[in-house]
Symmetry: C2
Subunit: 245 residues, 2 copies
């Protein structure tokens, strides 16, 4: 598995990594709208951040820009795509076929690019066998028997009390990266990466700020991101690639 670091030796700063998907979206959008080139200023405006940050971020990927002109939108998209690994093949299994699981399965924009669903599992026998889109919900045993290659990413959309069991099953299937939507801290072996997404926290953060909105502070565009546990890195930003139900 190829290693992508910055231009040099070092890995990219987490905040930069978190912004890359945003730049990618904007660059792709620019290409679609016929632009061949895009400047750090434009990128910054659309991302809701400042241009210096954009340039600093992109300079870590190499000298992609042309002075006086800007960045080649298509090339930029390609480079970011490569770095994010989106051009590789990322088989995904979703565990938990409840409302949220279904929403993600059907969301345009969630499973795009290199991410594709290879399995849908649940422990509830009333949904096992159900067909959703092109997939049939199976038990872990069934999926385990039928999968040729292990999934790279496991998505947990079970109720919280089942999350740990789901995690263990996904890990047993071979997943080393988990995206957990359940409000539960997972106990996973060394080497397994977990990313937590907590939607209710967003409301709490919003209301914290709203409660002191009186002091009308500048309001910026936002970015959305899950954070790396240990080294909590946030993601600044605007233009969220998203879930469109």
């Amino acid at each position: 598995m190829e290693r992508h670091f910055g231009l040099n030796d070092r890995p990219l700063p987490e905040p930069t990594v978190a912004r890359l998907p945003i730049y990618l979206r904007i660059a792709e959008e620019a290409v679609r709208s016929g632009a061949t080139t895009i400047s750090s200023d434009e990128l910054a405006g659309l991302a809701g951040i400042n241009a210096a940050k954009v340039r600093k971020d992109l300079s870590l990927l190499g000298s992609l820009g042309t002075r006086g002109t800007g960045y080649d939108a298509a090339q930029l998209a390609g480079v970011i795509d490569g770095i994010l690994g989106a051009e590789l093949d990322w088989p995904v299994v979703i565990a938990g076929v409840g409302k949220l699981g279904r929403a993600l399965i059907n969301a345009r924009g969630f499973l795009t690019g290199g991410y594709h669903l290879v399995g849908l599992v649940d422990v509830n026998s009333s949904v096992i066998g159900e067909q959703i889109g092109e997939h049939i919900v199976s038990s872990f045993e069934q999926l385990s028997a039928s999968l040729r290659n292990p999934p790279k990413i496991g998505v947990i959309t079970t109720p919280d009390h089942s999350a740990q069991a789901a995690a263990e099953s996904l890990i047993a299937l071979g997943a080393h990266s988990l995206l957990n939507f359940a409000p539960k801290v997972l106990d996973v072996p060394e080497g397994v990466r977990v990313r937590y997404v907590d939607l209710s926290i967003e409301l709490q953060i919003l209301s914290y700020h709203a409660a002191r909105e009186a002091t009308s502070e500048p309001v910026g565009l936002l970015a959305t991101v899950g954070v790396e546990a240990d080294q909590l890195r946030p993601t600044p930003w605007a233009e969220a690639p998203g879930v469109s139900p």
Copy 2:
């Protein structure tokens, strides 16, 4: 509207704000499980971060702990709850009753505490009039006529091409804070706060790291958070309060 700052004068650092909901969950959980007291070490372990950070964060809220003992779990929960404004009343309107909207409406844990749904709107006449839980989907006009008080928070779960219109309607209803799940940058007037949540970005961040997993780095628990656009602040962390479909 009361102003909550740290102990002193200054507002809390964004990363701290993003961690508070996590501490809150853990403290509440501790209370439920019968513990009266919880230490920064325990908090840290459950949150997937280190104890110094926990103590620094909590010290900004006041001298809540007792040396040699730890923090009073119930008191801690109460204080954080107050700071996050969760004990206040936060009327929420959800715009866009597609799969994701329905998932959020039904998710345990999304609309809890002081957050409660006061309206469900959509532009699609085929869903207007539909009853979902205790609410009936209405048009913006209908809702506008029937709402007594403006919603404080608007949640956008429409397709991306409708997001801007939804935002404008929500703002017209009186919402000053928006939580946008659509992959679209919103153009909003000064004073309106937008928080973007992009679920597909999570996959991209996971795969970026997975692609260089070869170098087995330490794997931490993660935190999930949307970020404040301008000042991009991430959220470190583990134990995500979540969406359980």
